[in-house]
Every structure is written in C-alpha cells, then in structure tokens.
Symmetry: C2
Subunit: 280 residues, 2 copies
C-alpha cells in the first residue's frame, strides 16, 4: 500500500491505475477509521481493481466551536487497518494540498444543505460539497463510496454529482452497528461509559418508529413523537431533530410513501446522528 501526500504523486498513481484498466474505487474519509469505513473499502474492492482511501480532516466543514481540533487523528492505526484489508493507496494531503492559498470557490446545494444537520451546522455542507468535488477531481475515480450513516451527506453528494455532471458513480454503503445497535462513528470514542449506554437509544428510537410504520402508522408527526419518547426515556434530552422525510429527496412529507427517519441528538457533549429507512 502506497501513501500519497501531494498532487503529483497522487496523479501519477491515478494515471498508472487508469492505464492498467479496471475501475478505481475511492473512499473519502476523515480518518479515525472503524469497521464502517472498512466496509466501504470492502464494498469498493468487490467491483474495483484499485481502491484508494483519502484521510483528510477537512477544516471547512467544521463550524466555529465544533470539534475540529479534538477530532481524533489516528494515522498509524488507520494505515494498519487499511493494509490489513489490502487497500491499494492512501491519499493523505495537508490542507495546503487541497486548498492552495487564495481560494475563492465554493459549492452550494440548496435547499438540501440548509436543513436537518445543515440548520444547526451552517456552512457544513458547503464545506463537504466543495471538498468532495476537489477530491473527486484529483482522484478521478470511477466510483466513490459513502456511508449511509451520513444520510443527508450521501443525498447531497448524489444531488451534486448529478447537477454538475461529475463522471463518477456514487455508492451508498449500509450502516455498520455495534451489538446494541449504535451506529459506528469516529465520534463514539468521545462517549463516557454511561453515555455509551445511553447512545443505543437512537437505534431503539428508529426501530420503534419502524415497527409503528410497519403496523400502519403513516403520520410523520406520530412516528416522530414515538421516537422522541424513546430518546427522552433513556435520558437523551438534547434532541436536535427527529424527522421523517422522503427517502430520495429528503423533503418533508406529512405522510411519506417511502420514508426515512433521521435523528440528531447530543449525548453529553457528543453530537450523534443515525437514520433508518422505515419502509424496507
């Protein structure tokens, strides 16, 4: 496995991979890798002859007061994990490699970017859209893999790729969960033992809503109320949102035909998100 730190060495690798034929699969990450990320790499390896993971804690998607500085950086462990599953390359750029001085360009996806997580994290999705475009343009993969865990991010990237006619297939990969249902996240390591137990309530809330939906409850408000109840019962009170949305467009629907439920809540100081498609 090769570690590429600048544009020149990345480009050489990309050119060689393309010459060799076969597909290049790309997995953009912020590092602090866990089984969720590894499942993306495994998925890429199924249909791509070359896989490349980027590790870049993107400053522009963190707001003031967010956890950019504390965000875990665990490169030695990340590298070992990727080597273990036969990833071909890591792109490990510094901020200057991604953002040469004097940049003025950003990408906006509206109204998708300003709702749900975007409402409480202004600028977040502009940062995500812009960095993903830069990374896709540098790596020029045939397919890019994103976790369904970040449902709004995945929806936004699909929308952007379609709108800008980017020549890449966007693949969403199912959430990997702990035994008690907690979705894997690099931020889970912030949780205390007590908070870790509480955090399983997000999954429980989603399952409760899904079960009600299966039993015929189609009213968004009722489903949201039930899920909120589960969170509150477990002591999670800082609920950012519990929303039933259209699965494809994330528009609000009073009675969605094919709905996804999305949750964001703070457990202690840690903001967690999770989601579940209710109709499958």
């Amino acid at each position: 496995m090769i570690v590429l730190e600048d544009r020149k060495s990345l480009n050489d690798w990309v050119e060689q991979s393309r010459l060799r034929g076969g597909k290049v699969g790309f997995i953009p990450t912020m590092g602090a890798l866990h089984e969720g990320h590894l499942s993306l790499v495994r998925e890429a390896r199924k249909s791509c002859s070359q896989t490349i993971v980027s590790i870049f804690v993107n400053p522009t998607q963190f707001g003031p007061g967010e956890d950019f500085d504390q965000y875990p950086r665990t490169f030695v462990e990340d590298k070992a994990l990727l080597e273990d599953i036969s990833c071909d390359a890591i792109f490990l750029p510094s901020p200057e490699v991604i953002y040469p001085p004097g940049g003025q360009t950003f990408i906006t996806v509206e109204p998708l970017a300003s709702q749900l997580c975007g409402a409480s994290r202004p600028g977040h999705f502009q940062g995500v859209a812009t960095v993903v475009t830069i990374l896709l343009n540098l790596v020029r993969p045939h397919a890019a893999y994103f976790g369904v865990k970040d449902y709004q991010q995945l929806t936004l990237i699909k929308q952007m790729v379609r709108d800008l006619a980017l020549a890449v297939e966007v693949v969403g990969v199912p959430i990997v969960r702990e035994k008690d249902g907690l979705a894997l996240s690099s931020r889970n390591r912030y949780l205390t033992t007590e908070e870790r137990k509480q955090a399983a309530a997000l999954y429980k809330a989603l399952c409760t809503a899904k079960s009600l939906y299966k039993d015929g409850e189609l009213r968004a408000k009722e489903l949201e109320q039930a899920a909120r109840g589960v969170l509150l019962e477990s002591g999670i009170e800082q609920i950012d949102y519990v929303e039933v949305r259209d699965k494809e467009k994330l528009t609000s629907e009073l009675t969605a035909d094919d709905p996804v439920m999305l949750i964001a809540a703070r457990v202690g100081k840690t903001r967690l998100i999770d989601n579940m498609v209710l109709s499958t």
Copy 2:
C-alpha cells in the same frame, strides 16, 4: 462536422476522441458566432487533434430584464462558419440536457464574482461558473478556450478551475477588433449606425489610458479619469465602470504594477465591455 444534441451522443464522441489519442480542445459559446469565436477555434486547432464548440444560450447567467430572449440565435450561420474552419463537432444542448429538473447546485467564486460586471449583473457569474463546470464535466476536454474580451469571466474561470482542481488547461485568446478598434461581440449587432460609431470610443479610451501609463502615469484614479473623459466626449454617458485592476487577481490597486483597465458602458441600450492590459 457532427452536431451532438444529447449527453449520450456527446459522451460517445468524447470517448472515441480520447481513444484516438491527442488532445480535445473545447470552446464554450452562446452562438451568434463572429471572428472572435473563430479565433478561439483556430487557436484550439493549433494544439488539439479534435475541437468541439458548444452553443448554449445559458439562461442562468441572464438576470431579469436582461437580453436572454433577444439574444441572437443564428445556428445555420454558426454551423456554416464552423464547418468552414474544420471544427470537428458542435455540442448543441437544450436547457434540459444541461439542467435536468430538480437541480440544486451552484458554484460561487467570491469576491471575484460580485464586483465589476458582477455588481451590475447579480447572479451572472454564478450562472457562468456553474454552466462552465457542467460543460467541462460533460466534454472532459484537455484544454478550454475563452476570449480575453470577457476578462473577468476568464479570470474567474481560471480561479475556479484552480480551486476545484478541474483537470483542464484554460487558454485565454486575444481580443479580435474591428478596424476602428471595437472589440467583436455578438451584442454589436444590436447597435444602430450612429451607436456603432460611438462604440469605438471604448477602444479609444483604453488606448488613451495605455498611452498615459506608458508615459509614466501610474495613478489608477488619473488613468480612469482620462478614459472616462474619452467616453464622455464621444457621447457615451451611461458608464457602468472604468477601472484599473491588478492583471492577475483583478484586485483594486491605487498604483498597480501590472494593471489591466476594464470598461463597461451602455451605448444606447446595448451594454458593451472591453479591456486592455496597460503594461504590455
């Protein structure tokens, strides 16, 4: 010469051109072609084995009350002109081909986009940046050619291509002028005989400023004043701006080392722009 109207046929042409090897040169236009556009194609043909011109009057770069509806559409003549100079392909998309329904994504280049022409045409450069990115992603050329006549547009596109790491070389091609110095523009055909005579004053104003600069006048305000004088003298009173700016970044400089002068003014109802690098 082949005319491509949808993404599929364009993509087939692009794939074939790339397989054949050699460079693909791309010239995005809004049609109503004149010698200025043809000079872009000729420049492309010098270093590219395949040249493709897009003709698309992009609705998103026209503001309300601007000349989108009146903008000249002269496809039969355009096609004949391109055939004459051995252009290889025309991409002639409908708005739906460029903008499938439900689009949410746009590209902003700030502060470049909000000054000069951007100040009086809000949204114009967002429309330009976004459509150029879409076209570049669809055509995937090695090089793209733009007229220096639209100096701010060229600067903005260079900035955006750099910021987003788009894999294309941006080439600026010198202004083509009439005998009296008027820069060629599709909008010149709006001018009455009287206005057409007046319009030459833009070039005269630029030459006056350049001559003063060569004689040692480095103060932007004085250069601008002199150019304004020439415009007013010829009866051009609706001056949008006369500005001396840094040649590369278009920042305002009281005494620019390497300045360009940019002019936008209305002659009758027609808005004309022109520019000249003073230091060469």
